[in-house]
Amino acid sequence: MAALEVEGLARHYGEREALSDVSLSLEAARTLVVFGPNGAGKTTLLRVLATLLRPHAGAVRVLGSSLPDDAWAVRGRIGLLAHEPLLYRELTARENLRFHARLHDVAEERVEEVLEAVAISARASEPLRNLSRGMVQRVAVARAVLHDPELLLLDEPYANLDPAAIELVEPLIGAASGRTRVVCSHDPGGGLAEADLVLGLRAGRTVLLRDAAAVQPGEIAELYR
């Protein structure tokens, strides 16, 4: 069974259509990369899949549960890495992660494990407002994978990260993590390289949906024109 099944999804904000008639299907452990200019509906799609926004029309099944009615069953199996880190600036990385560990009923040892994995242990006792944006992004990665989610929803995950940091988080949120992934990207080359399936959005509508192998880089550049 597919990990993600979306059929005719629509979502609007008042009269403005953010998404209309989006359909796709993604197998487990595969990567969907979503391309599209700003305002194309990428973030809205991620938030719908994350159960944070209710779909207005269409059928959405995430990890076998249909949204929004059975959203409770998939919460805790999804890891979201959004634009905002979803962390408290006044708390340290360790305190933030411990808070999320308690919410997700994850053992405290796991906190140290992920802090180690994103190489932030040395500065885990400083309030986040003292850390650079790249470091905060690494803590956000740690937060997103803390509860070992089956599905990862990543909104431009590599923004603010230097090449060394990208290499660092790759085993956690990259294709090698073995998780089902939905990645929003602005980077045609890098995005295409990690994709199994490509979705191109423009003004909330699907303009491209194809296996990555059959997509030319030029087609992606065309989306932004």
């Binding site: 944070l52 409770w72 979201l80 979803l86 600036r89 006044e90 708390l91 999320h100 919410l103």
Partner: protein, 224 residues
Amino acid sequence: MRRTVGALLRKELLVELRTLESVPGMSLFAVTTFVVFHFALNRNSVDGDLASGILWVTLLFAAILGINRLFVADAEEGGFDGFLLAPVDRSAMLVAKVLTLLAYLVVLEIVAVPAFALLLLGPSLAGAMPGLLVTLALGDLGVAVIGTLVAALAVQTRARDLLGPLLALPLLVPIVIGGARATSPLLALSHPTGAPARWLLTLGLYDLVFGLIAYALFDFLLED
């Protein structure tokens, strides 16, 4: 539920201890307001109705400061989303925030009530203490419940600093009525008596009804 409330409460107190944004401000505001009342009324001591009114209005306005800040960190730093992604009972947020606000109010009163007795109050507080504590506890509970509901309502709006107090004050009028009426005989200069049970009962019932309303409605403020 208990684990979630514990986690949220711990986070709230950690943030407050680190930033000291709410409680010290509320307490200082209350003490300053007593000084302002001294000059505005041009009186060195107050008792009875007037004392009880000054105490409750001051506590109420100090509470509004805390209410206005209650959800700001969650709304601005994505704490709501982080919470909503977890597989937990959403009412835990309501319970944790009510307890947080309640803790703020208790600390506020530990500072403000002695300051009031020292600066303005004519009669001694010694005999009034048990009655005053019960009245304050019931009043605080109501302020915490209504304050949390209103803060959650106002925090997602563009004019939250304005809308919070405008929404909260009318809803808190019955608390002021009950609290001030119950307190005024305690603070009378001659023949102080106990807090009338009628007013304590009114406060208790109001707390209960709004507790149920907040419990029923809070989830709708979280989802999107």
